[in-house]
Amino acid sequence: MVVEVQPPATETAGREQRTKRAKRLPRGADLVIWLALVCGALVMAFPLYWMFATAVRPAAELFTGKFDLVPSEFAWSNFSAAWDKLPWGTFYQNSVLIAVIGTCITVFINLLAGYAFAKFSFKGRDVIFILMISTLMVPIQVILVPTFMVVSEMGLVNSIWGVILPRGAEAFGIFLVRQYLVSVPNELMESARLDGASEFRIFWSVVLPLCKPVIAVLTIFTFMWRWNDFALPLVTMQELSSFTVPLGLNFAKGLYYTDWTGSMAMTLLSIIPMLIVFVIFQRSFVQGIASTGMK
């Protein structure tokens, strides 16, 4: 309330002071809250630390039954030993292909459809839109059997396309793009239309550049879902040579049995790509969740 009355010059000074205050350790009740949040964060981070600590520990140390947090030494050979037990190279190749191709296709067609739903009026628009959005509620397991039948009729069992194509029917992106474009003024597209640009050209050189933030969000999320996908590949990818990384991990669970160092080493490797994406795009990530959540 007081800040509003102050002239702009002191307002910036106030902001500087505030950032300085943010860096100092809080006091009193604030300190208690801060400590509680830090403890909570330690609990949240612990499972990931424990995965790492197990992956690099000498295997013999696991079965002492004692509570020791830090490995006595680093046994990096755990990784190569676990890697050699299964064709992980193939699993990663399949996963990367599915995630990259799947993300490109999904994002592109979502942008096309989202744009059409936001900026054109046509017969059946609302019905089709609602039908598509309502599929967000359908659990994949409910339609897993008939989806598998469609995939196998098309001869796509064990093919990466048997995962990429069904997952292209993704309503989240259509919804996101539509919500985003609805608030963009029509004038930009109208003036391009008056200049005689074709509709696809307008989409390509007017709409897409406008969509940059939403493309970022969409790409990250789609990549994450494709990379982590499990239920659909579980039924359509039946041969070891077509397994993805999550399928490999699930398979390894039975195979490695009590080899927890190996299991944790492979788990750690599998989440590193997502962790990198998360660290780089953290802001878009959070923004994406927040903006879809708000609308």
Binding site: I128, V138, F230
Partner: protein
């Protein structure tokens, strides 16, 4: 691009024709834009959804022929004790995960909405489990909750509390899954609540402060009512997430011990791909689908009523 320009530029056609053709084309454009999605949705969503309704009325094994059996798949379900157990387990899981993740998410969001050292980093730590695959989470949890060598029981032994048979006892397996789910989903709820908290004008809180409202009163009478739309959305999202849970349970317990962690989607998977009873699996799918619809519609109507009343 090019065909469009050539049509408009055709000199021999009568004056009205290119214009009409262009208008027709203009009408077709949005359909062309949604065509790729429409094809994929039809093949992999609409056909399977209709298919699952159709299959639920048939006796259908993975390789064999199908015969129409009317509602007998549903009768079979409702007389199957395992189905009801899966039903109850699903309720248990939803009740155990939805309020807890929302409450914790809100508490952390309120905490992290104030100025403090390392705020961005803390937010990231709470949020990071959201982006990890459920199979990976399942494997990590299997190891942490391991009866003999898991770190949790090691810790309990160190402080001389009796150890807990986490995943090997039918009464502890579900609570273990719920704990893991809270870990996964807390950050998601936190982020959405944080966004909502930041959209509350600070003047409102300040005014309440000036009026002498305590911290709790400010929360109860200013913040909480303004968060209502967010909480509404989160209830729906969290219930849907909880009803969809599959990967985590498959990896951690595969529905066991016994059927103590078999939820409805687990039951569908078992019936379809392990027993081979496609018809009965689809019937469970239909039940689940109707449940979701009923839940969303009732909840939506209830909240609209309470909004109108207020």
């Amino acid at each position: 691009m090019t065909p469009h320009t050539t049509t408009t530029a055709t000199p021999s056609a009568p004056a009205s024709n290119p214009a009409r053709r262009r208008r027709l084309k203009q009408k077709l454009v949005p359909y062309l834009f949604i065509t790729p999605n429409l094809i994929l949705f039809t093949l992999f969503m609409f056909v399977p959804i209709v298919g699952s309704f159709y299959m639920s009325l048939n006796d259908w094994t993975l390789m064999g022929e199908s015969t129409f059996v009317g509602l007998s798949n549903f009768v079979g379900l409702f007389t199957d004790g395992v189905f009801w157990q899966a039903f109850a387990n699903t309720g248990y899981y939803v009740a155990g995960t939805v309020p807890t993740t929302m409450a914790l998410g809100l508490v952390v969001a309120i905490g992290l909405n104030r100025q403090m050292p390392g705020r961005t980093f803390l937010r990231a730590v709470y949020f990071v489990p959201v982006c990890i695959s459920l199979v990976a989470v399942g494997l990590i949890s299997l190891w942490i909750f391991n009866d003999s060598y898991g770190v949790l029981n090691n810790l309990l032994r160190t402080v001389e509390i009796p150890t807990v048979p986490w995943l090997s006892s039918s009464s502890w397996a579900m609570p273990s899954l719920i704990i893991v789910t809270i870990w996964i989903r807390l950050g998601f709820n936190m982020v959405i609540y944080l966004a909502a908290l930041q959209s509350i004008p600070t003047e409102l809180i300040q005014a309440a402060k000036v009026d002498g409202a305590t911290g709790w009163q400010r929360f109860r009478y200013v913040t909480w009512p303004l968060l209502a739309p967010t909480s509404f959305l989160l209830v729906i999202l969290n219930v849907i997430f909880s009803l969809h849970v599959f990967d985590l349970i498959l990896v951690m317990t595969n529905g066991g011990p016994g059927f103590s962690t078999t939820v409805l989607v687990q039951y569908i998977y078992r019936e379809a791909f392990q027993t081979g009873e496609m018809g009965s699996a689809s019937a469970v799918g239909v039940v689940l689908y109707l449940l979701l619809m009923a839940f969303t519609l009732t909840y939506w109507r209830l909240s609209r009523q309470s909004n109108n009343a207020a």
